[in-house]
Subunit: 369 residues, 2 copies
């Protein structure tokens, strides 16, 4: 019989509010992403070392992991290793991954969530493969056809939720409506917004603008009794205004939007550097304004906004940017820990279930439109 909570390994730490928190295990795909295995291990170590309530299940090639564990015994004490020398590559097709990569480092991490050995999986690997493997292994929640990749974006106000960021290349109106529901549930859990303001990303704000999927989704969302405030269409220039809680998009334009925003931020950051190097006066100006500018840089650094969450699955999977550095990977792993601690999947499932019993099933929404 287990008399000590800590020894039992299930309840071990106090969270920030002083409430007894569950012991969490995060499954980390150490062979995903464009970087070195060591970068993933360093990021994992950075997050779990400071958090007594978290352990890691490292999925990947033991011959690459073991030397790191030998060099970092305090980290080794908090991890287990699931060995595999198989990995999903950047150019693998989702269908190939599903057929051949269930025992890859990515597949093992997701299977650990399915079996309950871990509460969340994190990978910086191929988005399409991660989505396909997650869907096959974890299955989607009732009423959800396809999971979507969602993340928090910085805005002028508090963060906004945006989805889908690239998990689904082609989306029809039913997918978009389901994304709206999942995004709203995510916003309720993560942003604490009771009735999130949800907009559809479009190329004009008038009702007749856009492609058929977006126009039809707009009609459905306008007509249905939903636990969200549908505010209509938004164009890309309003994404960061901070007056929207959830921005819903198909995966192609959603991915284009987030990557283009990243590119623009990078451009301005470099031009700003040039502006401060213009002459001696501007160099002096930089020295004076340094503290404010550092805060701005931190606010906009993509590494501080890393970690997309697959929404709509029976289990939590977090996707890191493939090119993230140690800091970026650590941010994604922190997102994974936070979402697991908040039991995001369970709360979204309950939210969708309440909504279904209260009013209408997501899959029936199309008939309302």
């Amino acid at each position: 019989m287990c008399t000590s909570l800590r020894a039992c390994g299930r309840w071990s730490a106090f969270d920030e509010s002083g409430i007894l928190a569950k012991q969490l295990t995060i499954a980390v795909d150490v062979m995903g992403g464009d970087g070195e295995v060591e970068t993933v291990l360093l990021a994992t170590r950075r997050v779990i070392t400071g958090d007594p309530g978290v352990r890691a299940l490292l999925c990947g090639d033991r011959t690459l992991i073991d030397p790191f564990l030998e060099a970092h015994p305090e980290f080794a004490a908090k991890v287990d290793v699931l060995h595999t020398d198989q990995q999903v590559l950047a150019h693998d097709l989702p269908a190939q991954a599903v057929r051949r990569a269930r025992n890859s480092s990515m597949g093992l991490a997701i299977k650990a969530v399915k079996s309950g050995d871990a509460q969340v999986a994190v990978s910086a690997g191929n988005t399409g493969a991660l989505m396909a493997l997650s869907k096959v292994i974890l299955r989607t929640m009732p009423g959800i056809e396809r999971p979507a990749l969602g993340a928090l974006l910085p805005t002028k106000g508090s963060d906004s939720v945006m989805l889908d960021l690239g998990a689904n290349v082609e989306c029809d109106e039913d997918n978009l409506v389901q994304f709206a529901l999942m995004g709203a549930a995510y916003a309720r859990v993560v942003l604490g917004t009771d009735r999130p303001r949800v907009a559809l990303l479009n190329i004009g704000e008038e009702d007749m603008k856009g492609n058929e999927a977006v126009k039809n989704a707009g009609n459905i969302l306008r007509g249905a009794p939903l636990p969200l405030e549908f505010v209509g269409f938004t164009e890309g220039d309003r994404i960061f205004d901070g007056d929207l809680d959830v921005i819903v998009s198909g995966g192609f334009p959603g991915n284009v939007a987030i990557k283009t925003a990243e590119g623009m931020a990078k451009l301005i950051s470099e031009l700003l550097g040039d502006a401060f190097r213009t002459n001696m006066l501007s160099r002096i100006g930089y020295l004076f304004a340094r503290s404010g500018l550092k805060r701005l840089r931190k606010h906009m650094d993509p590494n501080n906004h890393n970690g997309g969450v697959f929404l709509g699955l029976n289990g939590l999977v977090v996707k890191s940017h493939g090119g993230a550095n140690e800091e970026g990977l650590a941010t994604a792993i922190r997102v994974a820990v936070e979402m697991a601690r908040k039991e995001l999947s369970k709360l979204i499932a309950e939210d969708l279930k309440n909504f279904e019993s209260d009013s209408i099933k997501p899959e029936e929404l199309a008939e309302v439109g």
Copy 2:
């Protein structure tokens, strides 16, 4: 018989290089856009007053235009008015515009290009209607199914051409390939690049990423002997790197990209303002760095990058942002003057024709893929 070139009204001014330049007439839709008629008139006046080689044909309601002309006689001497009280509204559907709005201010401006009374039309009105009316009145060039909206984007290096920015909601592979050809021709004319580097906007750089239209267009462009260097797929974060001359996209993601970039630039600009207001030191810093920052602001101001050009038509049509201010409208009108002076349409048509006779017709490209 016309003995004086100036009196003849066809050859009147020397351009910057000292070569005798043609007298141009620009047709301005003074009732398009979200702003006041007076803003459009002020912007037109600002551009043509300083340019002896340009006259304007103001298309719109004479009762709104005449008081302005009475107040500005020097401007009145350089313009003619085509009266109509009809206008295209922001929520008019393209098909409605084609049926009912040929005699609107927008329709008259385009018809003036068709008849040769003007060398270019400028409008800040509804993009879909402008595209549909332009296509019906001016027709597309041989081998081009649909015109595309292209514009110059600021980058780390010299400007890049991006198209389509929202004229075509759904695009197939043939449209994308034709956009690539038109974009390359535009880059040759405007950027002076002999063999432009062209990329397709996608959600991944690997060949198998993206939707069918983008993948198929990639296969066609990779296989065909073209007067451009096809560099493959690009993600949104590379748009501003300056190593691409032409970025080709369907109208939906293209519009999302450019608007999102605008939103991100606005966000950073506001956060930067906050950063300089953080404390007394940062305020002092701003004073020192002011000149460099002003240059940055000018470089990034959307009003300095206004003016998209419809490519692939037998005639020039320039689209201004609907919400542009006087400065922004003036930029779009300057773009119109520059493109008309460079005879962009004629050069693109010649470029496409040379290409056709040299190698292969654009409409046959699909068979190469």
